[in-house]
Symmetry: D3
Subunit: 131 residues, 6 copies
Amino acid sequence: MATVPMIEYDDASDEVRAIYDDLREVRKTDFINNFWKALANQPGILKRIWAGIKEVFSEGEIDPVTKEMIYIAVSVANNCDYCIHSHTSNAFNKGMTVGQYEELLALIGMAHQTNGLASGMKVPIDEVYLK
Amino acid sequence: MATVPMIEYDDASDEVRAIYDDLREVRKTDFINNFWKALANQPGILKRIWAGIKEVFSEGEIDPVTKEMIYIAVSVANNCDYCIHSHTSNAFNKGMTVGQYEELLALIGMAHQTNGLASGMKVPIDEVYLK
Amino acid sequence: MATVPMIEYDDASDEVRAIYDDLREVRKTDFINNFWKALANQPGILKRIWAGIKEVFSEGEIDPVTKEMIYIAVSVANNCDYCIHSHTSNAFNKGMTVGQYEELLALIGMAHQTNGLASGMKVPIDEVYLK
Amino acid sequence: MATVPMIEYDDASDEVRAIYDDLREVRKTDFINNFWKALANQPGILKRIWAGIKEVFSEGEIDPVTKEMIYIAVSVANNCDYCIHSHTSNAFNKGMTVGQYEELLALIGMAHQTNGLASGMKVPIDEVYLK
Amino acid sequence: MATVPMIEYDDASDEVRAIYDDLREVRKTDFINNFWKALANQPGILKRIWAGIKEVFSEGEIDPVTKEMIYIAVSVANNCDYCIHSHTSNAFNKGMTVGQYEELLALIGMAHQTNGLASGMKVPIDEVYLK
Amino acid sequence: MATVPMIEYDDASDEVRAIYDDLREVRKTDFINNFWKALANQPGILKRIWAGIKEVFSEGEIDPVTKEMIYIAVSVANNCDYCIHSHTSNAFNKGMTVGQYEELLALIGMAHQTNGLASGMKVPIDEVYLK
């Protein structure tokens, strides 16, 4: 198949441009990464996904760097190459320290290990966790 | 197979008891959850895993609640029932707010979705992420 | 390791050639894609896998394009690069429309998201689904 | 943790009830399954997920039964118990035949197998798929 | 959906009975586990899967216990509850020692961890592995 | 992000060099593969992971080739490119035969298939496996 074509700003429909404009404003950067240019082939999905991303990354009780670290954790477990690259980059841009990154990797590694062990031994769930 | 037998403190070897004692002291609770009682059938693994968990949860640049949230994120992606239950419980015990939990779930959900879309469209990795 | 060597038709044993011949006849194309050339290093597996593929893609109650879309869905969830490329290509060759592909991606994305949420919240299965 | 509490219609806020009402109308049934009752603890996510589900299951180029089969395929690959149960139930309710279900299972099984083999042998992607 | 009905020997068609008979003979036991009774709803799949299982577990260069351990390793990584139970049971029945089981769990745990770390850091593949 | 920098022996700290020295001695080769050079950016993780790997690959009841085959099985299921390459290479270096590799691939493929089928049909676990 090859990958879907990347829709550049200048070639985009008005509908797509409006989302690109919003994306640039919210993120305070002109850079539009390939994920969005690929999604732009399906304006309906592009719109819905951007709305979701905007919501989950909007100001809340979890700080922006932590949100990116959580995103990295899921992306590593799902082994999504693109997502690991983009969110690790985002995390550093938003201020993740080298020390935090090291601890994040260590946590991800241990979690994979204990996930495998708990599933492999079929450990029964403690009563206290079910209350 | 059924699950492996749970090794209770009173039935444990000295080697296992020493780890249970350390676990109780570090965690400041007498409660020993089934994961450790199952691992105790293999004292060598028990020792190594506890050392790893102690290290990744020791004081560092990522705060304790965030560490548990990252652990939950990996456990959900790996779909480890036991781990989701125990770490969600831990996170609330360590102070995760209902608002943080809501944002965590929303992030996990969106990350799964964009992981699937980026993998499905085979989005090429932007040059800027490879530098 | 590098990948296993690709077994070309001219270098293949009679046993492998017979399968290549059948594959070409069933698929009505001379093209043999790398998956089969790699499997041909293990003629026993090649034979069994081709028999399975021939069976699941034989005429039945699910139409050919839908079969390829289901294959894409599994391949994305398992994140198999080769399989996503080959089955997306197959699907378009068999008549998948751009509109269907868009809807397929949207479904795959949402399914990943709700899979993550249902697993993360440990939603109890409704009685009605267990009857 | 135990699972999150199920929010019943009578105990729901106006915001949640409005979504429950829409869900009942769109699906033409009074039944609200646990997934929604669990999400209702987080009205923001509930609203966004319902909007997404409504969109991907709205009338389009892929018929309703096929959409459910694609959803089942992803849910099996992600091993989401709840999702497998609910979407298999939905698929039968929407008219999936026993023959289609049999073919679906056969496809899912073969796809898992060839996914594993293609990943295990690191099969290089054919040039023709990259055009 | 609930699970599919279990097809008992006495209620099985001649086609299914012939496979049950072969299964009992090859395995030298009258016991037919639920996996086969579930597959028997789809005799075509039952036949193909049994042929595949018979082939991969037939005498070869990997001994029977090792084959079961490899099967357990895959089943844990895919988190298939049924498969972990049945193949761990099979492995012990075929002679897996407690010491081997301990080493198997340790390997599975470490492999999950290093898989997560290698994917998370996007470690470039060494030239020597690509030759 | 690009990948993390590879830490070469000559540029390594004394702490990292000590581990590289041990790794070379244990493995009886001067070659240090990229996984360790990447981990060396986080000496704490490097130390812990190397200790774990050394332990699980130390002499025991499972022979060295089988250990590598089990590692490959997990790595394929988790779809870790780096790990599949490195452990397949290791397995051949330690004496895995072409026949064993063929049987390994066949087992991995069948296990993925039956994992998918057992999960998809929600097969109930036999009583005998729960004892």
